[in-house]
């Protein structure tokens, strides 16, 4: 047993964990901000929305569908030139962020739009009858009433991003995926392979658990 553990370099493992968490949560942060904004725009401009605008809606809709359909690993590769300009390098954990964000923004935007569309139309009509502006509707109705769904959306997006960081790791951005691939798979160290996988699974479970918990906590329905 102790021989098994001896196969793991703990400093390396801790460093990889740190990198995975960094990549996942930094990109989640930007993805939530960007995705919320795009989601709001989609919601407002959709046909029968509060500010229907066929041109803006079509453009955003196509953009979202397009970037959601490009496999992440390919997206990351075709983004290398842009990443180089933005980050200055295509290697390391920071270099993974632009591709991670760009893949998660459309996903989160779509989930945001769905969450807003689930909000009872009657409550929106009610606040409009009170003389609410579009900002009031967003801030006082849509965001609070959709909050449990948005929290679940954050959890799902976060889990996706943890998965993507592993793929990013395989092409040089560090993290647990990189460890599993480079040291576990390529150097045939099964202990590292399984242990880093187990850590990734644990992170995913934890995100889901916290997401469910918070979502239930704020749901007063």
């Amino acid at each position: 047993m102790s021989e098994l553990w001896a196969a793991i370099d703990w400093t390396q493992m801790a460093e990889a964990l740190k990198q995975t968490l960094y990549m996942s949560f930094v990109s989640l942060f930007y993805a939530v901000i960007g995705g919320t904004l795009v989601g709001i725009a989609l919601y407002l401009t959709q046909p029968k929305g509060l500010h229907p605008n066929a041109v803006i809606y079509r453009i955003l809709d196509i953009w979202v569908n397009l970037f959601r359909s490009i496999p992440f690993i390919i997206l990351m590769i075709i983004m290398f030139p842009l990443t180089k300009i933005l980050v200055g390098s295509i290697l390391g954990m920071k270099a993974a962020i632009p591709a991670l964000v760009l893949s998660a923004v459309p996903f989160f935007a779509r989930l945001t739009m769905i969450a807003f569309n689930e909000v009872d139309k009657g409550t929106i009509e009610a606040v409009l009858s009170m003389g609410a502006s579009t900002f009031d509707v967003l801030w006082k109705v849509l965001l609070p009433e959709a909050a449990p769904a948005l929290v679940s959306a954050i959890a799902v997006t976060g889990i996706n991003l943890v998965g993507y960081t592993s793929m990013a790791g395989a092409i040089g951005s560090g993290g647990l995926g990189n460890l599993a691939y480079l040291y576990g798979f390529a150097r045939r160290n099964n202990v590292i392979l399984f242990f880093s996988t187990a850590v990734i699974v644990l992170i995913v479970f934890l995100i889901q658990f916290v997401g469910d918990f918070v979502s239930r906590l704020i749901d007063k329905r």
């Binding site: 009872d120 009657g122 409550t123 009509e125 009610a126 606040v127 409009l128 009858s129 009170m130 003389g131 609410a132 502006s133 009031d136 006082k140 109705v141 609070p144 009433e145 909050a147 704020i218 007063k220 329905r221």
Partner: protein, 342 residues
């Protein structure tokens, strides 16, 4: 000038294969302080009409004039300001589940930019007014339907509106709760002098609290008038159907036919009572004086806005028809409308 004037309102919804004409030239006037009811079957256009009053829907043509101001002439911010003075309550209450009851009532004041302390004070007053003291911190999901509508009413009153729009406000409630909500609306009308426009498919609601009523069918108003007048002498067939429904009687034509076949050997007279005269023992007096052998074979009396309204059908045997002429003229002298059926 009337507080609310709707002038030749039309509304057409674009649809395929044919456009839907929801409203075809509706004009009504509502005086300040009135409870004005609009009744009609579903699809009559009443939801669209009530939403045009606060411009949640915009009319295809026609004008909405509130207090002399044509709403079409307002800019969007001006219209929002105007809406703050038009409260609205809904069939399904439309409360925000994410906010406590107190916070729900506070919402319109937040939108209107009322200062925090004033908001809190007003919330307390309103919670008392609608009888929900102690429930401030609860969430709507813990309330019954009737209580939710009370929160809806408190919320609609938060910005001291001039007008309250009620969109089928009691249709999702049981009969007992309906009565208590109607009493609350009546109290608000009397104590705050608030003008109320309500739409409903329940004639009982009109009977219970409205002063005036408009009957809608197929995007048009087919009859309009004081409630007691409409109830005692309905003219349009749709109105007759509604009135018959609430009086618990058959539609007049069917009733007459049935009675005629039951009493082939008698003259049938329909006596219409309306208003205060029904307090007098008219019938007893008249029968005594005329010596007509009249027997009551059908009766329906109800109360509308506190006044008794209704009719009797009496049969006088054709063999003993001697007193009938005097019977009729004495009744007419007392202000009873007499209609000879056979």
């Amino acid at each position: 000038m009337s507080l609310i004037q709707l002038e030749s309102i039309t509304k057409t919804f674009k649809a395929k294969p044919v456009n839907i004409e929801a409203l075809r030239g509706v004009s009504i006037q509502v005086e300040a302080g009135q409870i004005y009811g609009i009744v009609g079957y579903s699809g009559a256009g009443k939801s669209t009409l009530i939403r045009i009053i606060n411009q949640l829907e915009t009319q295809s043509s026609g004008a909405v004039i509130l207090n002399g101001v044509n709403l079409s002439s307002l800019s969007k911010p001006q219209l929002r300001k105007k809406r703050q003075k038009i409260g609205m309550i809904f069939q399904h209450f439309n409360l925000l589940w994410s906010r406590t009851i107190a916070k729900n009532i506070e919402l319109p004041m937040e939108i209107a930019g009322v200062a925090r302390e004033i908001r809190k004070k007003k919330v307390r007053e309103l919670i008392d007014l609608v009888g929900l003291s102690g429930r401030e911190k609860d969430y709507p999901s813990t309330l019954s339907g009737g209580q939710k509508q009370r929160v809806g009413i408190a919320r609609a009153l938060a910005n001291q509106p001039d007008i309250l729009l009620c969109d089928e406000a009691t249709s999702a409630l049981d009969p007992k709760t309906t009565v208590s909500i109607l009493e609350l609306l009546q109290k608000i009308n009397q104590e705050l002098g608030l003008t109320i426009i309500l739409i409903t498919h329940q004639m009982e609601v009109i009977q219970k609290i409205c002063h005036r009523v408009a009957i809608m069918s197929d995007g048009q108003i087919v009859e309009e008038g004081e409630v007691s007048e409409v109830f005692s002498t309905p003219k349009h067939s749709i109105t007759k159907g509604f009135v018959a429904g609430v009086m618990g009687v058959e539609v007049e034509e069917e009733l007459k036919e049935r009675l005629l076949s039951l009493y082939p050997d008698a003259h049938l007279l329909k006596l219409n009572f309306a208003g205060a005269i029904t307090d007098e023992p008219i019938l007893a007096n008249v029968i005594q004086k005329s010596k007509a052998k009249a027997s009551i074979i059908h009766a329906s009396i109800t109360h509308v806005s506190g006044k008794p309204i209704g009719f009797l059908i009496v049969a006088i045997d054709k063999k003993h028809a001697s007193g009938q002429k005097e019977f009729v003229s004495l009744l007419k002298k007392e202000g009873v409308k007499v209609e000879v059926i056979s």
